[in-house]
Protein backbone atom coordinates (compact mmCIF):
# COMPACT_ATOMS: atom_id res chain seq x y z
CA UNK A 1 0.00 0.00 0.00
CA UNK A 2 1.06 3.56 -0.61
CA UNK A 3 2.78 5.44 2.22
CA UNK A 4 0.28 8.24 1.81
CA UNK A 5 -2.36 5.93 3.28
CA UNK A 6 -0.46 6.02 6.60
CA UNK A 7 -0.72 9.82 6.62
CA UNK A 8 -4.34 9.66 5.45
CA UNK A 9 -5.18 7.44 8.45
CA UNK A 10 -3.27 9.67 10.88
CA UNK A 11 -5.17 12.69 9.55
CA UNK A 12 -8.50 10.89 10.00
CA UNK A 13 -7.69 9.76 13.54
CA UNK A 14 -6.08 12.76 15.21
CA UNK A 15 -5.84 15.24 12.41
CA UNK A 16 -6.00 18.37 14.58
CA UNK A 17 -3.02 17.62 16.84
CA UNK A 18 0.47 18.87 15.85
CA UNK A 19 2.16 16.05 13.96
CA UNK A 20 5.45 17.58 12.83
CA UNK A 21 7.23 20.58 14.31
CA UNK A 22 10.40 22.48 13.47
CA UNK A 23 11.24 25.56 15.52
CA UNK A 24 8.03 27.55 16.02
CA UNK A 25 6.35 26.05 12.94
CA UNK A 26 4.14 22.98 13.03
CA UNK A 27 1.74 21.05 10.83
CA UNK A 28 -1.11 18.80 11.95
CA UNK A 29 -1.49 15.49 10.14
CA UNK A 30 -4.48 16.97 8.28
CA UNK A 31 -2.39 20.00 7.20
CA UNK A 32 0.47 17.73 6.19
CA UNK A 33 -1.93 15.70 4.03
CA UNK A 34 -3.27 18.83 2.34
CA UNK A 35 0.28 20.11 1.80
CA UNK A 36 1.20 16.75 0.25
CA UNK A 37 -1.62 17.02 -2.27
CA UNK A 38 -0.77 20.66 -3.01
CA UNK A 39 2.88 19.61 -3.44
CA UNK A 40 1.89 16.74 -5.71
CA UNK A 41 0.38 19.26 -8.14
CA UNK A 42 3.76 21.05 -8.27
CA UNK A 43 5.87 17.94 -8.85
CA UNK A 44 3.46 16.02 -11.11
CA UNK A 45 5.02 14.86 -14.36
CA UNK A 46 8.57 14.70 -12.97
CA UNK A 47 10.49 11.44 -12.59
CA UNK A 48 11.37 11.92 -8.90
CA UNK A 49 11.48 14.41 -6.01
CA UNK A 50 14.88 14.89 -4.38
CA UNK A 51 15.40 16.51 -0.98
CA UNK A 52 18.63 18.37 -0.23
CA UNK A 53 18.50 20.08 3.13
CA UNK A 54 18.48 19.70 6.89
CA UNK A 55 15.59 18.37 8.99
CA UNK A 56 12.50 20.55 8.70
CA UNK A 57 8.86 20.57 7.63
CA UNK A 58 9.91 20.52 3.97
CA UNK A 59 11.15 16.94 4.42
CA UNK A 60 7.78 15.29 5.30
CA UNK A 61 5.91 17.49 2.83
CA UNK A 62 8.28 16.56 0.00
CA UNK A 63 8.16 12.86 0.90
CA UNK A 64 4.36 12.70 0.92
CA UNK A 65 4.02 14.98 -2.12
CA UNK A 66 6.14 12.47 -4.06
CA UNK A 67 3.98 9.60 -2.74
CA UNK A 68 0.81 11.48 -3.74
CA UNK A 69 2.25 12.10 -7.21
CA UNK A 70 3.25 8.44 -7.50
CA UNK A 71 6.97 9.16 -8.03
CA UNK A 72 10.02 8.21 -5.91
CA UNK A 73 11.44 10.40 -3.17
CA UNK A 74 15.24 10.75 -3.06
CA UNK A 75 16.73 12.34 0.07
CA UNK A 76 20.38 13.25 -0.48
CA UNK A 77 23.18 14.29 1.86
CA UNK A 78 23.31 18.10 1.74
CA UNK A 79 26.97 18.00 2.84
CA UNK A 80 28.14 16.29 -0.34
CA UNK A 81 29.99 18.25 -2.98
CA UNK A 82 27.74 19.64 -5.69
CA UNK A 83 29.50 17.49 -8.34
CA UNK A 84 28.63 14.36 -6.41
CA UNK A 85 25.00 15.43 -5.92
CA UNK A 86 24.85 16.25 -9.60
CA UNK A 87 26.11 12.79 -10.58
CA UNK A 88 23.53 11.17 -8.28
CA UNK A 89 20.68 13.20 -9.78
CA UNK A 90 21.56 12.86 -13.48
CA UNK A 91 20.67 9.15 -13.93
CA UNK A 92 17.25 9.69 -12.31
CA UNK A 93 15.92 11.77 -15.19
CA UNK A 94 13.76 14.83 -14.65
CA UNK A 95 14.09 15.42 -10.92
CA UNK A 96 12.82 18.42 -8.99
CA UNK A 97 15.02 19.27 -6.01
CA UNK A 98 13.26 20.42 -2.83
CA UNK A 99 15.45 21.91 -0.13
CA UNK A 100 17.32 24.83 1.37
CA UNK A 101 20.90 25.80 2.09
CA UNK A 102 24.08 26.05 0.08
CA UNK A 103 24.01 22.64 -1.66
CA UNK A 104 20.42 23.26 -2.76
CA UNK A 105 21.37 26.68 -4.11
CA UNK A 106 24.38 25.28 -5.94
CA UNK A 107 22.14 22.71 -7.64
CA UNK A 108 19.76 25.49 -8.68
CA UNK A 109 22.69 27.36 -10.24
CA UNK A 110 23.60 24.22 -12.16
CA UNK A 111 20.17 24.33 -13.76
CA UNK A 112 18.37 21.63 -11.79
CA UNK A 113 14.64 22.33 -11.38
CA UNK A 114 14.17 23.40 -7.75
CA UNK A 115 11.42 24.12 -5.24
CA UNK A 116 12.32 25.91 -1.99
CA UNK A 117 11.32 23.87 1.07
CA UNK A 118 9.64 26.83 2.80
CA UNK A 119 7.66 27.67 -0.34
CA UNK A 120 6.52 24.06 -0.65
CA UNK A 121 5.33 24.10 2.97
CA UNK A 122 3.71 27.53 2.58
CA UNK A 123 1.85 26.55 -0.58
CA UNK A 124 0.10 23.81 1.41
CA UNK A 125 -1.28 26.21 4.00
CA UNK A 126 -4.79 27.33 3.11
CA UNK A 127 -4.87 24.96 0.15
CA UNK A 128 -7.84 22.65 -0.28
CA UNK A 129 -5.98 20.17 -2.44
CA UNK A 130 -6.96 16.53 -2.05
CA UNK A 131 -6.98 13.34 -4.09
CA UNK A 132 -7.22 9.58 -4.18
CA UNK A 133 -4.35 7.69 -2.54
CA UNK A 134 -2.46 5.92 -5.36
CA UNK A 135 -3.07 2.20 -5.47
CA UNK A 136 0.26 0.79 -6.60
CA UNK A 137 2.10 -0.75 -3.62
CA UNK A 138 4.83 -2.09 -5.87
CA UNK A 139 6.07 1.33 -6.98
CA UNK A 140 9.39 2.61 -5.60
CA UNK A 141 8.66 4.97 -2.68
CA UNK A 142 12.17 6.04 -1.74
CA UNK A 143 15.61 5.74 -3.29
CA UNK A 144 18.02 5.89 -0.39
CA UNK A 145 21.79 5.91 -0.60
CA UNK A 146 23.59 3.48 1.71
CA UNK A 147 26.33 4.82 4.00
CA UNK A 148 29.11 3.44 1.84
CA UNK A 149 31.49 2.52 4.67
CA UNK A 150 33.02 -0.42 2.80
CA UNK A 151 32.32 0.54 -0.82
CA UNK A 152 30.90 3.46 -2.78
CA UNK A 153 27.34 4.44 -1.72
CA UNK A 154 24.58 2.60 -3.58
CA UNK A 155 20.96 3.66 -4.06
CA UNK A 156 18.67 1.18 -2.31
CA UNK A 157 15.15 0.94 -3.74
CA UNK A 158 12.50 0.88 -1.00
CA UNK A 159 9.06 0.17 -2.40
CA UNK A 160 5.82 1.34 -0.81
CA UNK A 161 5.06 -2.24 0.19
CA UNK A 162 8.42 -2.60 2.01
CA UNK A 163 8.07 0.57 4.07
CA UNK A 164 4.34 0.11 4.71
CA UNK A 165 4.95 -3.48 5.87
CA UNK A 166 7.58 -2.23 8.32
CA UNK A 167 5.29 0.42 9.80
CA UNK A 168 2.09 -1.64 9.90
CA UNK A 169 3.91 -4.69 11.21
CA UNK A 170 5.87 -2.99 14.01
CA UNK A 171 3.96 0.12 15.11
CA UNK A 172 0.62 0.24 16.92
CA UNK A 173 -1.55 2.77 15.10
CA UNK A 174 -2.42 5.68 17.42
CA UNK A 175 -0.51 3.92 20.19
CA UNK A 176 1.23 7.07 21.48
CA UNK A 177 -0.15 9.05 24.40
CA UNK A 178 -1.55 12.55 23.71
CA UNK A 179 1.51 14.26 25.23
CA UNK A 180 4.13 12.05 23.61
CA UNK A 181 6.79 13.79 21.56
CA UNK A 182 9.79 12.40 19.73
CA UNK A 183 12.94 14.38 18.99
CA UNK A 184 14.43 13.59 15.59
CA UNK A 185 18.06 14.52 15.08
CA UNK A 186 19.12 11.82 12.62
CA UNK A 187 19.52 13.28 9.14
CA UNK A 188 16.73 13.07 6.55
CA UNK A 189 18.88 11.14 4.06
CA UNK A 190 19.37 8.25 6.50
CA UNK A 191 16.91 5.34 6.79
CA UNK A 192 16.47 6.16 10.49
CA UNK A 193 15.19 9.62 9.55
CA UNK A 194 12.69 8.08 7.17
CA UNK A 195 11.58 5.42 9.67
CA UNK A 196 11.28 7.99 12.46
CA UNK A 197 8.87 10.04 10.39
CA UNK A 198 6.66 7.17 9.25
CA UNK A 199 6.55 5.26 12.56
CA UNK A 200 5.85 8.26 14.77
CA UNK A 201 3.25 9.70 12.45
CA UNK A 202 1.48 6.33 12.48
CA UNK A 203 1.78 6.05 16.27
CA UNK A 204 0.35 9.58 16.63
CA UNK A 205 3.47 10.91 18.36
CA UNK A 206 4.39 14.58 17.79
CA UNK A 207 7.65 14.79 15.85
CA UNK A 208 10.03 17.58 16.84
CA UNK A 209 12.82 18.17 14.33
CA UNK A 210 16.28 19.36 15.26
CA UNK A 211 17.74 20.82 12.03
CA UNK A 212 21.15 19.23 12.71
CA UNK A 213 22.53 17.37 15.68
CA UNK A 214 24.30 19.29 18.40
CA UNK A 215 24.45 17.70 21.84
CA UNK A 216 23.61 20.86 23.83
CA UNK A 217 20.79 21.79 21.43
CA UNK A 218 19.47 18.22 21.68
CA UNK A 219 19.44 18.27 25.49
CA UNK A 220 17.85 21.75 25.50
CA UNK A 221 15.14 20.61 23.06
CA UNK A 222 14.29 17.55 25.17
CA UNK A 223 13.81 19.76 28.23
CA UNK A 224 11.99 22.59 26.43
CA UNK A 225 9.60 20.41 24.41
CA UNK A 226 8.93 17.78 27.07
CA UNK A 227 10.31 15.14 24.72
CA UNK A 228 9.38 11.57 25.71
CA UNK A 229 11.09 9.57 22.93
CA UNK A 230 14.24 9.87 20.85
CA UNK A 231 16.48 7.85 18.58
CA UNK A 232 20.18 8.62 18.28
CA UNK A 233 23.32 7.10 16.78
CA UNK A 234 26.23 6.10 19.07
CA UNK A 235 28.39 9.19 18.41
CA UNK A 236 25.41 11.35 19.44
CA UNK A 237 24.88 9.20 22.53
CA UNK A 238 28.47 9.77 23.68
CA UNK A 239 28.20 13.55 23.25
CA UNK A 240 24.81 13.68 24.99
CA UNK A 241 26.38 11.80 27.91
CA UNK A 242 29.13 14.47 28.08
CA UNK A 243 26.53 17.26 28.33
CA UNK A 244 24.48 15.43 30.97
CA UNK A 245 27.57 14.65 33.03
CA UNK A 246 28.61 18.28 32.94
CA UNK A 247 25.28 19.83 34.00
CA UNK A 248 23.83 17.04 36.15
CA UNK A 249 20.26 18.06 35.30
CA UNK A 250 19.10 14.79 33.73
CA UNK A 251 16.20 14.50 31.28
CA UNK A 252 13.03 14.22 33.41
CA UNK A 253 10.54 14.01 30.51
CA UNK A 254 12.42 11.34 28.53
CA UNK A 255 10.97 7.83 28.79
CA UNK A 256 12.35 5.97 25.76
CA UNK A 257 15.76 6.35 24.18
CA UNK A 258 16.62 4.21 21.21
CA UNK A 259 20.12 3.93 19.80
CA UNK A 260 21.53 2.24 16.73
CA UNK A 261 22.98 2.84 13.29
CA UNK A 262 26.44 1.64 14.30
CA UNK A 263 28.02 -0.40 17.04
CA UNK A 264 27.76 1.29 20.44
CA UNK A 265 30.88 0.93 22.60
CA UNK A 266 30.05 -0.77 25.91
CA UNK A 267 31.70 2.08 27.81
CA UNK A 268 29.29 4.63 26.26
CA UNK A 269 26.24 2.49 27.00
CA UNK A 270 27.36 2.04 30.60
CA UNK A 271 27.60 5.81 31.09
CA UNK A 272 24.15 6.36 29.61
CA UNK A 273 22.62 3.68 31.82
CA UNK A 274 24.06 5.42 34.87
CA UNK A 275 23.09 8.93 33.75
CA UNK A 276 19.51 8.00 32.77
CA UNK A 277 18.51 5.27 35.22
CA UNK A 278 14.76 5.67 34.63
CA UNK A 279 14.81 5.79 30.83
CA UNK A 280 13.80 2.71 28.82
CA UNK A 281 16.65 1.94 26.42
CA UNK A 282 16.29 0.15 23.10
CA UNK A 283 19.08 -0.88 20.76
CA UNK A 284 17.92 -1.14 17.17
CA UNK A 285 19.71 -2.95 14.36
CA UNK A 286 18.78 -2.54 10.75
CA UNK A 287 20.02 -1.62 7.31
CA UNK A 288 18.97 0.79 4.63
CA UNK A 289 18.02 -2.20 2.48
CA UNK A 290 15.70 -3.60 5.18
CA UNK A 291 13.54 -0.47 5.62
CA UNK A 292 15.21 0.22 8.97
CA UNK A 293 14.96 -1.90 12.15
CA UNK A 294 15.03 -5.70 11.91
CA UNK A 295 16.18 -6.57 15.46
CA UNK A 296 15.74 -4.90 18.83
CA UNK A 297 17.26 -5.24 22.27
CA UNK A 298 14.41 -3.83 24.31
CA UNK A 299 13.96 -2.10 27.67
CA UNK A 300 13.36 -5.43 29.47
CA UNK A 301 16.75 -6.70 28.27
CA UNK A 302 18.45 -3.50 29.47
CA UNK A 303 16.67 -3.69 32.84
CA UNK A 304 17.80 -7.29 33.32
CA UNK A 305 21.36 -6.19 32.64
CA UNK A 306 21.05 -3.31 35.12
CA UNK A 307 19.92 -5.91 37.66
CA UNK A 308 23.23 -7.69 37.15
CA UNK A 309 21.99 -10.89 35.44
CA UNK A 310 25.23 -12.10 33.75
CA UNK A 311 23.46 -13.44 30.63
CA UNK A 312 21.66 -10.12 30.23
CA UNK A 313 24.90 -8.18 30.74
CA UNK A 314 26.61 -10.10 27.94
CA UNK A 315 23.57 -9.51 25.71
CA UNK A 316 24.00 -5.76 26.02
CA UNK A 317 26.52 -6.10 23.21
CA UNK A 318 23.94 -7.86 21.02
CA UNK A 319 21.37 -6.38 18.64
CA UNK A 320 18.62 -8.25 20.49
CA UNK A 321 16.06 -10.49 18.86
CA UNK A 322 14.75 -10.18 15.32
CA UNK A 323 11.25 -8.78 14.83
CA UNK A 324 8.46 -11.38 14.65
CA UNK A 325 7.85 -10.21 11.07
CA UNK A 326 11.44 -10.92 9.98
CA UNK A 327 13.27 -14.25 9.56
CA UNK A 328 17.00 -14.54 10.16
CA UNK A 329 19.63 -17.13 9.27
CA UNK A 330 23.37 -17.15 9.84
CA UNK A 331 25.18 -19.00 7.03
CA UNK A 332 28.72 -20.25 6.49
CA UNK A 333 30.90 -19.65 3.41
CA UNK A 334 29.11 -22.48 1.57
CA UNK A 335 25.71 -20.92 2.21
CA UNK A 336 24.68 -23.49 4.83
CA UNK A 337 22.92 -22.34 8.03
CA UNK A 338 25.19 -22.68 11.06
CA UNK A 339 24.34 -23.71 14.62
CA UNK A 340 23.72 -21.26 17.46
CA UNK A 341 26.97 -19.70 18.64
CA UNK A 342 28.77 -20.07 15.33
CA UNK A 343 29.52 -16.95 13.31
CA UNK A 344 28.74 -16.43 9.65
CA UNK A 345 26.99 -14.02 7.31
CA UNK A 346 23.58 -12.76 8.41
CA UNK A 347 20.70 -13.36 5.96
CA UNK A 348 17.22 -11.90 6.50
CA UNK A 349 13.83 -12.27 4.84
CA UNK A 350 10.53 -10.47 5.25
CA UNK A 351 8.13 -8.07 3.60
CA UNK A 352 10.05 -5.01 4.80
CA UNK A 353 13.29 -6.36 3.29
CA UNK A 354 13.88 -4.77 -0.10
CA UNK A 355 17.37 -6.09 -0.85
CA UNK A 356 17.21 -4.13 -4.06
CA UNK A 357 19.42 -1.47 -5.59
CA UNK A 358 19.00 0.75 -8.60
CA UNK A 359 21.20 -1.82 -10.35
CA UNK A 360 18.96 -4.79 -9.44
CA UNK A 361 17.85 -7.07 -6.60
CA UNK A 362 20.34 -9.18 -4.66
CA UNK A 363 17.79 -11.49 -3.00
CA UNK A 364 18.40 -15.21 -3.50
CA UNK A 365 15.80 -17.52 -5.07
CA UNK A 366 13.98 -17.93 -1.76
CA UNK A 367 13.86 -14.22 -1.03
CA UNK A 368 16.75 -14.08 1.47
CA UNK A 369 18.83 -10.91 1.59
CA UNK A 370 22.58 -11.24 2.27
CA UNK A 371 23.24 -8.35 4.65
CA UNK A 372 27.04 -8.62 4.26
CA UNK A 373 27.07 -8.23 8.04
CA UNK A 374 28.84 -10.93 10.03
CA UNK A 375 27.43 -12.20 13.29
CA UNK A 376 26.00 -15.07 15.29
CA UNK A 377 22.82 -16.05 17.13
CA UNK A 378 22.81 -17.34 20.71
CA UNK A 379 20.56 -20.17 21.97
CA UNK A 380 17.71 -17.74 22.62
CA UNK A 381 17.88 -16.03 19.26
CA UNK A 382 19.84 -12.94 20.32
CA UNK A 383 21.77 -11.63 17.37
CA UNK A 384 25.37 -10.52 17.89
CA UNK A 385 26.81 -8.35 15.12
CA UNK A 386 30.56 -8.63 14.53
CA UNK A 387 30.76 -6.09 11.72
CA UNK A 388 30.73 -5.96 7.97
CA UNK A 389 31.74 -9.16 6.21
CA UNK A 390 34.21 -7.16 4.14
CA UNK A 391 35.83 -5.86 7.34
CA UNK A 392 36.65 -9.33 8.61
CA UNK A 393 40.39 -9.73 8.90
CA UNK A 394 41.75 -13.05 7.70
CA UNK A 395 45.14 -13.53 9.32
CA UNK A 396 46.84 -16.85 8.66
CA UNK A 397 43.49 -18.44 7.82
CA UNK A 398 41.84 -17.23 11.02
CA UNK A 399 38.72 -15.01 10.70
CA UNK A 400 39.02 -12.09 13.09
CA UNK A 401 36.25 -9.56 13.74
CA UNK A 402 37.69 -6.04 14.29
CA UNK A 403 34.96 -5.39 16.87
CA UNK A 404 36.35 -7.97 19.26
CA UNK A 405 39.77 -6.31 19.33
CA UNK A 406 38.33 -2.80 19.45
CA UNK A 407 36.21 -3.62 22.52
CA UNK A 408 39.36 -4.74 24.34
CA UNK A 409 41.47 -1.72 23.33
CA UNK A 410 38.67 0.66 24.40
CA UNK A 411 39.02 -0.70 27.93
CA UNK A 412 42.43 0.98 28.15
CA UNK A 413 41.99 4.25 30.05
CA UNK A 414 44.16 6.20 27.59
CA UNK A 415 42.20 5.10 24.51
CA UNK A 416 39.32 7.35 23.38
CA UNK A 417 38.59 5.76 20.01
CA UNK A 418 40.12 3.08 17.85
CA UNK A 419 39.62 1.32 14.54
CA UNK A 420 41.07 -2.09 13.70
CA UNK A 421 41.60 -3.10 10.07
CA UNK A 422 43.47 -5.73 8.09
CA UNK A 423 46.37 -4.66 5.88
CA UNK A 424 48.07 -6.85 3.26
CA UNK A 425 50.89 -9.06 4.50
CA UNK A 426 53.03 -11.43 2.43
CA UNK A 427 53.34 -14.03 5.15
CA UNK A 428 49.95 -13.97 6.89
CA UNK A 429 47.68 -12.73 4.11
CA UNK A 430 46.66 -9.88 6.38
CA UNK A 431 48.16 -8.21 9.41
CA UNK A 432 46.15 -6.48 12.11
CA UNK A 433 46.55 -2.73 12.22
CA UNK A 434 44.89 -0.25 14.52
CA UNK A 435 44.42 3.50 14.41
CA UNK A 436 44.12 4.91 17.92
CA UNK A 437 42.88 8.27 19.18
CA UNK A 438 44.13 8.97 22.69
CA UNK A 439 42.17 10.79 25.37
CA UNK A 440 43.20 14.39 25.87
CA UNK A 441 46.44 14.58 27.82
CA UNK A 442 46.91 10.80 27.86
CA UNK A 443 50.16 9.18 26.84
CA UNK A 444 50.65 5.68 25.55
CA UNK A 445 53.17 3.93 23.31
CA UNK A 446 52.52 1.17 20.83
CA UNK A 447 54.24 -1.56 22.84
CA UNK A 448 52.28 -0.76 26.00
CA UNK A 449 49.00 -0.97 24.07
CA UNK A 450 50.02 -4.25 22.42
CA UNK A 451 50.93 -5.65 25.82
CA UNK A 452 47.54 -4.53 27.18
CA UNK A 453 45.78 -6.28 24.26
CA UNK A 454 47.80 -9.46 24.70
CA UNK A 455 46.49 -9.89 28.23
CA UNK A 456 42.91 -10.34 26.95
CA UNK A 457 43.44 -11.60 23.41
CA UNK A 458 45.40 -14.40 21.84
CA UNK A 459 48.65 -13.24 20.27
CA UNK A 460 47.20 -13.87 16.78
CA UNK A 461 44.63 -11.16 17.59
CA UNK A 462 47.09 -8.67 19.01
CA UNK A 463 47.56 -5.72 16.65
CA UNK A 464 50.77 -5.92 14.62
CA UNK A 465 50.74 -2.23 13.73
CA UNK A 466 49.66 0.60 16.05
CA UNK A 467 49.24 4.08 14.64
CA UNK A 468 48.26 7.09 16.76
CA UNK A 469 46.01 9.59 14.97
CA UNK A 470 44.24 12.84 15.91
CA UNK A 471 40.78 11.70 14.79
CA UNK A 472 38.98 8.88 13.00
CA UNK A 473 36.84 9.44 9.90
CA UNK A 474 33.10 8.97 10.47
CA UNK A 475 30.00 9.46 8.34
CA UNK A 476 27.41 11.99 9.43
CA UNK A 477 25.51 9.21 11.19
CA UNK A 478 28.42 7.95 13.23
CA UNK A 479 29.53 5.07 11.06
CA UNK A 480 33.25 4.56 10.93
CA UNK A 481 34.65 4.95 7.40
CA UNK A 482 36.77 1.85 7.74
CA UNK A 483 37.96 1.84 4.13
CA UNK A 484 39.52 5.29 4.70
CA UNK A 485 41.30 4.06 7.86
CA UNK A 486 42.53 1.04 5.94
CA UNK A 487 43.96 3.10 3.09
CA UNK A 488 45.73 5.42 5.55
CA UNK A 489 47.23 2.56 7.55
CA UNK A 490 48.38 0.73 4.45
CA UNK A 491 50.23 3.88 3.39
CA UNK A 492 51.86 4.46 6.75
CA UNK A 493 52.69 0.81 7.58
Amino acid sequence: MNLLLLLDMAAADRGEAPAVQAGDQALTAAELLTAAWAGAEQVAGRDAVAYVGTNGLGFPVALFAAAAAGIPFVPLNYRLAVDQLDSMLRPLGDVVVVGEGSAYEALAERGHPVLAADELVASGRGSEASGEVPFDADAPAVLLYTSGTTSAPKAAVLRHRNLAAYVIGTVEFGGAGPDDAVLVSVPPYHVAGLANLLSNLYAGRRIVYLPQFDAQAWVDAVRREGVTNAMVVPTMLARIADVLEADGQGLPSLRNLSYGGARTPGTVLQRVMELLPDVDLTNAYGLTETSSTIAVLGPDDHRAARGGDPAAVSRLSSAGQVLPTVEVEVRDELGQPVRAGEPGEIFVRGEQVSGEYATGAVLDDDGWFPTRDRGWLDEDGYLFIEGRNDDTIIRGGENIAPAEIEEVLLQHPAVAECAVVGIPDDEWGQRIAVAVVLREGAELDADALREFARRSLRSSKTPDVVSFVDALPYTETGKLLRRVVQTDLEKSA
Binding site: M1, L5, D13, I168, A195, N229, S258, T282, V296, G298
Partner: protein, 101 residues
Protein backbone atom coordinates in the same frame (compact mmCIF):
# COMPACT_ATOMS: atom_id res chain seq x y z
CA UNK B 1 -13.98 -10.40 -5.93
CA UNK B 2 -10.29 -10.92 -6.74
CA UNK B 3 -8.32 -8.86 -4.24
CA UNK B 4 -4.82 -7.43 -4.53
CA UNK B 5 -2.60 -5.96 -1.82
CA UNK B 6 -3.33 -2.25 -1.73
CA UNK B 7 -6.97 -2.59 -2.87
CA UNK B 8 -9.27 -0.32 -0.88
CA UNK B 9 -12.75 -1.55 0.02
CA UNK B 10 -15.67 0.58 1.17
CA UNK B 11 -18.60 -0.41 3.34
CA UNK B 12 -22.01 0.37 1.86
CA UNK B 13 -23.76 0.40 5.26
CA UNK B 14 -21.36 2.48 7.42
CA UNK B 15 -18.19 4.60 7.20
CA UNK B 16 -15.78 1.67 7.36
CA UNK B 17 -12.93 1.44 4.84
CA UNK B 18 -10.26 -1.23 4.71
CA UNK B 19 -7.12 -1.78 2.68
CA UNK B 20 -6.01 -5.24 1.60
CA UNK B 21 -2.64 -6.13 3.17
CA UNK B 22 -2.55 -9.80 2.14
CA UNK B 23 -4.78 -11.20 -0.59
CA UNK B 24 -5.79 -14.83 -1.18
CA UNK B 25 -5.29 -16.18 -4.68
CA UNK B 26 -8.94 -17.16 -5.05
CA UNK B 27 -11.98 -14.87 -5.28
CA UNK B 28 -13.52 -13.96 -1.92
CA UNK B 29 -16.43 -11.84 -0.79
CA UNK B 30 -15.58 -9.38 1.96
CA UNK B 31 -18.62 -7.89 3.69
CA UNK B 32 -19.20 -5.22 6.31
CA UNK B 33 -22.32 -5.35 8.47
CA UNK B 34 -23.62 -8.13 6.24
CA UNK B 35 -23.37 -6.18 2.95
CA UNK B 36 -20.59 -6.86 0.39
CA UNK B 37 -17.86 -4.19 0.42
CA UNK B 38 -17.18 -2.38 -2.85
CA UNK B 39 -14.01 -1.11 -4.51
CA UNK B 40 -15.52 2.19 -5.65
CA UNK B 41 -16.35 4.84 -3.07
CA UNK B 42 -20.18 4.73 -2.71
CA UNK B 43 -20.04 8.31 -1.41
CA UNK B 44 -21.89 7.59 1.81
CA UNK B 45 -23.64 4.79 3.63
CA UNK B 46 -27.07 3.52 2.79
CA UNK B 47 -28.91 0.79 4.66
CA UNK B 48 -28.11 -0.44 8.16
CA UNK B 49 -25.34 -2.76 9.35
CA UNK B 50 -26.49 -6.10 10.72
CA UNK B 51 -25.70 -5.63 14.42
CA UNK B 52 -26.00 -9.36 15.15
CA UNK B 53 -22.67 -9.94 13.35
CA UNK B 54 -20.70 -8.11 16.03
CA UNK B 55 -18.74 -4.89 16.34
CA UNK B 56 -17.32 -2.81 13.52
CA UNK B 57 -13.63 -2.35 12.77
CA UNK B 58 -11.41 0.22 14.51
CA UNK B 59 -8.95 2.40 12.60
CA UNK B 60 -5.41 1.03 12.49
CA UNK B 61 -6.44 -2.51 13.49
CA UNK B 62 -5.80 -5.50 11.28
CA UNK B 63 -8.37 -8.20 10.59
CA UNK B 64 -7.45 -11.58 9.16
CA UNK B 65 -8.51 -15.03 8.10
CA UNK B 66 -5.26 -16.99 8.39
CA UNK B 67 -6.65 -20.04 6.56
CA UNK B 68 -7.63 -18.01 3.53
CA UNK B 69 -4.49 -15.85 3.65
CA UNK B 70 -6.53 -12.66 3.87
CA UNK B 71 -5.47 -9.65 5.93
CA UNK B 72 -7.15 -6.24 5.97
CA UNK B 73 -6.09 -2.96 7.59
CA UNK B 74 -8.92 -0.72 8.72
CA UNK B 75 -8.30 2.81 7.42
CA UNK B 76 -11.67 4.26 8.58
CA UNK B 77 -13.69 2.98 11.52
CA UNK B 78 -17.29 1.82 11.10
CA UNK B 79 -20.17 0.02 12.83
CA UNK B 80 -20.55 -3.03 10.61
CA UNK B 81 -18.59 -6.19 11.49
CA UNK B 82 -16.19 -7.54 8.85
CA UNK B 83 -16.80 -10.98 7.37
CA UNK B 84 -15.29 -12.99 4.52
CA UNK B 85 -17.42 -15.50 2.65
CA UNK B 86 -19.88 -15.19 5.55
CA UNK B 87 -17.30 -16.02 8.25
CA UNK B 88 -16.15 -13.42 10.82
CA UNK B 89 -12.72 -11.86 10.31
CA UNK B 90 -10.67 -11.93 13.48
CA UNK B 91 -8.82 -9.02 15.03
CA UNK B 92 -5.13 -9.67 14.57
CA UNK B 93 -3.42 -9.31 17.93
CA UNK B 94 0.09 -7.93 17.77
CA UNK B 95 2.55 -8.05 20.61
CA UNK B 96 3.62 -4.43 21.10
CA UNK B 97 7.26 -3.93 20.16
CA UNK B 98 9.59 -1.48 21.87
CA UNK B 99 9.70 1.74 19.92
CA UNK B 100 12.96 1.82 18.00
CA UNK B 101 12.34 4.92 15.86
Amino acid sequence: MQLRPGTKLFSTVCDAQVVVVKAPSEDVEVSCGGAPMVADDPGGASGTPDASLGEGPAIGKRYADEDLGLELLCSRAGQGALTVNGEPLLLKGAKPLPSSD
